[in-house]
């Protein structure tokens, strides 16, 4: 059974920071958090507040019902709302990991259980970039060549033992809110005098392909547990 916390967006981002802090402090080696927003926000890396026009763009987002929140992981603006399931995985890198593939390994540890879960629901998920998607990257989980899941990471070094620790984050679009989400992302870019680059058709929501999507998340935690058993990560309860 997967327990999904219901949190305001800012509290969810704080919970992810706390998870990384716990691993960094050595209180645990591997932790997993599932959360679903109670409200809506356009979440973006802190550096974007340096963009020309940021203040006006931020105000425009507020009037559309998407206040801006700043996050610690990389990437571009991502809308967060009750339509989204967030998965945060934090762990200390095992000594056996290839240090030249740490980023890729972290993305795969985050994404492969999601893909296994989707396969168990009768779907055929891919992994890769999607032209026109917001916050595009090489490690999107896709369905029908459209973006279902976006991912990002944050890394720091643990001073007590020198090990690197990682927070890998996924945002899964469970309910179809593609139109409003793409509109607010493009509105933000327009406010910053940047070209509108996102297309509704580049995204897909799980409830466009399945019914009863939230009950379907029950099996997700087991998919992570099964993968971690094969990769040497010990998930703390």
């Amino acid at each position: 059974m997967t327990t999904i916390q219901r949190l305001p967006v800012e509290a969810g981002l704080d919970a992810e920071r706390q998870l990384l802090d716990q691993v960094h402090a050595g209180a645990l080696d591997c932790g997993l958090l599932f959360w679903r927003p109670l409200d809506a926000a356009l979440v973006m890396p802190r550096r974007l507040n340096r963009l020309d026009g940021f203040a006006a763009a931020q105000a425009a987002c507020v009037t559309q019902g998407w206040p801006v929140a700043l996050r610690d992981t990389g990437g571009e603006p991502v809308p967060q709302s009750a339509a989204v399931l967030n998965v945060a995985l934090a762990y200390a890198v095992p000594a056996s990991d290839n240090e030249q593939k740490r980023i890729e390994t972290a993305y795969l540890r985050l994404c492969e259980p999601l893909r296994a879960w989707l396969r168990g629901l009768g779907l055929d998920p891919g992994l890769g970039e999607v032209d026109g998607a917001f916050c595009d990257g090489r490690y999107n989980v896709t369905l029908e060549q459209r973006k279902l899941v976006g991912t990002a990471q944050r890394w720091r070094r643990r001073p007590s033992d020198g090990r690197h620790v990682c927070l890998a984050h996924a945002a899964v679009l469970l309910e179809n809110q593609r139109q409003a989400m793409v509109e607010v992302v493009n509105s933000f870019y327009a406010g910053c005098q940047l070209p509108s680059r996102c297309r509704v058709a580049s995204h897909v929501a799980l409830d466009e392909l399945l019914e009863d999507v939230w009950p379907a998340t029950d099996g997700l935690l087991d998919c992570y547990r099964q993968q971690f058993q094969t990769t040497g990560l010990v998930l703390s309860p």
Partner: protein
Amino acid sequence: MSTPILIADNLWDGDAEAVITAWLVSDGAEVGQGDLVAEIMSEKAQFEIEAPAAGVLKILEEEDAVIAKGATIGLVE
């Protein structure tokens, strides 16, 4: 004497470049060893960069600069 803030060769995967997304301490400010001073990003992965020594920070590469592994982005004097 100054200590370079070096970007380690094993910080991220392969030969990709990264971007300095933020300096969290101003040029000329005092820092302690281990203080978080900068953030850099590659592949949507944000890395925290710590001060290698205590002293005064001198920034050599500004925010939004593209850097390679092995780069010296600042000094602690």
